[in-house]
Symmetry: C2
Subunit: 407 residues, 2 copies
């Protein structure tokens, strides 16, 4: 029941990137649960990971392997098992899959970046994964993005992917990204993975920067830093096969074009995760305006976005604006003049000067809240800064999914 989201389809191949996926039997039921992404020998890879102290074994290994700046060849991704909370046994298991793949593919173990998502605390079924590797290597093909989008999901109800094309110095470049994630309210399960490939030629340092910027305005606007899961990762691979002159200067017009395209891909994937939030029936854009700083805009946006009371009211299409006010009031803004606060849902003004707008009616509120796609605007009358955070409502279905997750 994702909100206004259609499954990934028609994803464009990216020169220099081949993919394959299969059912390795990590899930008890029949479904694809293992994916392999191969990139050309000189590809550049950037990645950002969860900041959770309990990061999963594959996150530790991938981080370690990325200390080497070049020579990465594969992302190996499994669903159904997070390989988190598994201690040194988990690290050994992740390494074992890397070693086997390296041996089969004729590359170094450090060339492999492992990723896992699923239940925390169960041993990774190493043999099932390694047994499936020869078949995956045989079937690598550029046109498998859409299929792989289906192999990496867990509680997602819809596969998530998008492609964009831009011109870089006269050459056509493609950016294709896939993602998984649905363990929202705040992603605090082994939740979010995103893999974005481009054939653009980009310097490693600039690629890092492009990914950081894109994540800051997308994946980091659906999950507060501290709330990332044990496994969250976002990878950007650039193969350099588009034929453009390598981009290394961020003042370069081509850098801006690529940044914009990667931003768009990340924003699409991040909002897709929220739209497919567990049990979500509504998608809410929370826009906080007129803040003194961006930080305080974010504090307000997250206080509202994470309030179970606001989220259940949204589920009920109940314009219970008092709960929004209460959330704004506890965001910890020094010296907030509550009499300056205005709140809109779409074009309906519900709060003016810190209390109910005199022209507001419950009927008007209910009417505007019937929609599945809502814009909640909060004006603070303190400054010029603005921030946007995306969230979804809290429904019966959320509780059912998370209570029964392992049954």
């Amino acid at each position: 029941m994702a909100v206004g989201l259609t499954p990934a389809a028609g994803l464009l191949p990216v020169k220099g990137i081949r993919l394959a996926s299969t059912s390795a039997g990590i899930y008890a039921r029949e479904r694809e649960d293992l994916a392999l992404i191969e990139f050309a020998p000189n590809a550049t890879v950037s990645a950002v990971f969860t900041r959770n102290d309990f990061c999963a074994a594959p996150v530790m290994i991938a981080r370690r392997h990325l200390k080497r700046r070049r020579g990465h060849r594969f992302c190996l991704i499994n669903a159904g098992n997070a390989n988190a909370g598994t201690g040194s046994r988990g690290v050994e298991a992740a390494l074992a899959t890397c070693r086997e793949l390296a041996s089969l593919a004729g590359c170094e173990t450090e060339s492999i970046l492992p990723f896992s998502t699923g239940v925390i605390g169960q041993d990774l079924p190493v043999t099932r994964i390694t047994s499936a590797l020869p078949g995956l290597l045989d079937r690598l093909a550029e046109n498998n993005w859409t299929q792989c989008a289906g192999a990496i999901i867990t509680t997602d109800t819809v596969t998530k992917g998008i492609s964009k094309q831009v011109r870089l110095g006269g050459k056509k470049a493609t950016i294709t990204g896939i993602a998984k994630g649905s363990g929202m309210i705040r992603p605090d399960m082994a939740t979010m993975l995103a893999f974005i490939g481009t054939d653009a030629a980009v310097d490693k340092k600039l690629l890092d920067r492009i990914l950081d910027h894109a994540v800051a305005s997308s994946f980091n606007r659906i999950c507060v830093d501290g709330d990332m899961s044990t496994n969250d990762a976002c990878v950007l691979m650039a193969t350099g096969k588009a034929g453009n002159k390598i981009i290394s200067d961020r003042q370069d017009e081509n850098s801006r074009v690529l940044q914009d395209a990667v931003n768009e891909v990340c924003a699409y994937l991040a909002t897709a995760i929220v739209r497919d939030g567990e049990g979500a029936t509504k998608f809410i854009t929370i826009q906080v305006e007129q803040g003194k700083t961006r930080r305080e805009c974010l504090a307000v946006a997250y206080a509202v976005a994470t309030s179970p009371l606001v989220k259940t009211a949204l589920f009920a299409s109940d314009p219970n604006w008092g709960r929004v006010l209460a959330a704004v009031g506890r965001a910890g803004l020094a010296g907030l003049d509550v009499n300056g606060v205005y709140i809109y849902i779409n074009d309906c003004r519900i709060v003016a000067g810190g209390c109910r707008d005199p022209g507001y009616t419950e009927d008007a509120g209910r009417r505007v809240m019937k929609g599945a796609d809502l814009l909640l605007r909060i004006m603070l009358a303190r400054g010029k800064h603005r921030e946007t955070v995306w969230t979804c409502d809290l429904s019966h279905e959320y509780v059912r999914i998370n209570a029964e997750y392992r049954s």
Copy 2:
């Protein structure tokens, strides 16, 4: 469906405090929704309030009236309407009820402390309240604590109250407290009110201190500072009618005895609120041990206590300890060695050295989680500090209650 909680009964009268309650028609349905507490002319009153910037009109008025240190005579409490988010109109409404009561009782307006709880953002029905005041004044009696406990509740399923008796310098002193609150996970609705009376004779400054201490280890261990609702208040009244010599020195043995008793009353009422948490089917004591500081113990405890994923797993009696680990990992402890973390549910060790205890079985985990009263112990292996926080699970019923709250 409160967890292990029986309704308030047999509450002991407190010399110098009289109470009355009635149905003033603030709720559409027939139920008591207005209470009056009168205390003797020379009583001493301390109170702590929400720190929410959007505090309700009655909170503003009560704070203002408490600036005067003496001469308070009444708490006037209504359920069904929070008088929050109502702007200057709401302040005028709260004042109007105080003025009318002062006029009827022959005291000053500043002698009245108003309290409201219920839906945010609707105008307070002033006339209904003032019309009920003469009847309330007529029926004031020392023995009405239990009845009043029923008049101040909102979504509570069980009334909450407790009495204790202690000896202070050879004199018997009584402490009786009542509370309301059920809008939990984190109380971020117009949620919690508590009124505690004692006939002990206590100096105002010491009474403030006793209340602060008691609240710190009780009501502030179920709600993080920043998450208090617009209306939260806890009031401690001391009438001095017990006949003890006035206590003013905190080194005094009698001060310690009274502090302990008030602590016990507050702890009982605070945990009663959690046991009656909306939709709660389990009551969980989260005890974080071996922290470097109390602050970091609290950070971990609240990260766990507020995680929707942990709470839904608790609801499902699912020992999904990975979710607990993930919550510990995002609590922001600098330099946490995850390999030192141990976690127990009751006497069952589920995590040892940062991953699943080798001797742990899912069966053992499920067995221990079947209980309605759970102790979740988290050991950090970093120091000697310890903190306790109380919470409840997140159930279908929570969503139903909060989605339908105003229907």
